[in-house]
Symmetry: none
Subunit: 324 residues, 2 copies
Amino acid sequence: MAQPGEKRKREDDTNNGGTEDKDNAAREVENPLPGFRLSAVLRESARDKTIFLHGQVSGDDEAKEDAVVILERAPFQAESVSDLLGKNPPMTLQLKNDIYGVYHLSPPPELNEVKATVIRPATEKHIKKYLRQEVYLIQESGEDYKNITLPFIQAQSFSIQWVYNILEKKAEADRIVYENADPENGFVLLPDFKWNQKQVEDLYLIAICHKRGIKSLRDLTADHLPLLRNIMKEGKEAILKRFGLQGNQLRIYLHYQPSYYHLHVHFTALGHDAPGTTVERAHLLNDVIQNIEMDSRYYETRTLTYALREDEALLKSFKDAGKF
Amino acid sequence: MAQPGEKRKREDDTNNGGTEDKDNAAREVENPLPGFRLSAVLRESARDKTIFLHGQVSGDDEAKEDAVVILERAPFQAESVSDLLGKNPPMTLQLKNDIYGVYHLSPPPELNEVKATVIRPATEKHIKKYLRQEVYLIQESGEDYKNITLPFIQAQSFSIQWVYNILEKKAEADRIVYENADPENGFVLLPDFKWNQKQVEDLYLIAICHKRGIKSLRDLTADHLPLLRNIMKEGKEAILKRFGLQGNQLRIYLHYQPSYYHLHVHFTALGHDAPGTTVERAHLLNDVIQNIEMDSRYYETRTLTYALREDEALLKSFKDAGKF
């Protein structure tokens, strides 16, 4: 749903800081992909208008370095496209049949932004993460979690320094939409990288809890109900206040498996078909709260279903344990 | 009617005719949207990068005329984007954190085509067809089900004669993939209409139980465990035998709300992003079985979350009951 007013408001905010020079200076950067050469297309989606590339670039000392580049076209903004159409832009006819016509239109560059996410240097793990693979469902019992998944997570020791940077305001502090600073039951709420904040139609925010050591859904017990209820209630309120979407227009959920093992909750616009909202990955926060209220050990003992790609190391652990 | 995939196919056909001069001549046209003024945004998808607009244009005799305009950004082509990245295009930094950077890139116009489908003159029917309805989440408690939803279902008396025709072999008998004929714990398995059966990538079958009167998830108790386990086990076996997909490559789930009130279970290929697989509509059969094993009255008492469109009659019932 287009909320042109909202859009304008946020753009104005950006320009209202009075620090325009500083902002502009911060935006001038050297090319992040010097000497880029494509190694492989990891994945692409014609529906989503995204492409995931693995390439090599020249590093600081001219040594080659791996990079992952994710390109995604921008969603349309109603106001700017209707302005454009009102100005009689050149349109090339492709076909015409009765009342239907198909044309090609090349809007000016400012209406054609592409978002480029660059991961550099990229490790083998990053490259694998984006490579399209066959997927399989795992039925992980409480015992499987203790014997297979937990040791796997501990052995991997994924870095979540970037999460701590956010919580400690060492990075992205200006992006925080809301904070409850309580170390036990507090959290920060900020826009997900996937959302450009220009339209609420694909609104996507993440609540990250302050407390460390809650790895995932599996660790949640009745002790965490105050935290979960805070995220539910205050997250909805903050989103209503800042972006004008009501609580019943939001899908609020956790991932299992999550992509990083520090508890976080996803908030997406209900009308937005965001990735990771399918039943084999998403768990509604409302259901999670109900389940823990019913049985504090629900997520310790429950068999949880999720999908793993063929090349994921965790699948290998299940295979090694004779469970796949 | 605009079906983007369909249209793309037809464009290729048009260009293959070997009548290039004629084609080029045909491509020079006057502006199809003279004096375009936006009336409404009918629908947009940030994920698909599409927007559906209703506008008014100046007709032949200067009278105003309704038009529907559908804009869709082009998918990326690997070759052209990797060429572009190799040429050090200007990229504007949006944010940087550790090894991750997000940039904006404005590719040249030839890499930024937008497909515009124009329907003109558009009737009321065209406009309604593309109008997106707002969706809202409902939290339906066990009491809400008894007081609002059940009376609504009973009053509607949706016809499910077509389901009985299948179960009695009066229709679609040749499409049945598998049957367990037990009247209490049996079911028929057949392909969903959405699946053309030509490739397993988007495999989609439905299991319909023989027993009548089980309207939905809400009616399931421990009495139905043998039926549910049969559907799970025999459904997987039949699909492996006929289509070669293993049980762990299948997403097996129920809808709540379902689209018809006779118990049925969906089987889709795990890699297929089928409609109705999001967490606010789909319930994994494996979870349903576990929940009933734990508490036979789970689905009688549980608060269930689902989405309703603004114009759906059930939403009106919730409004009338003061629950929305």
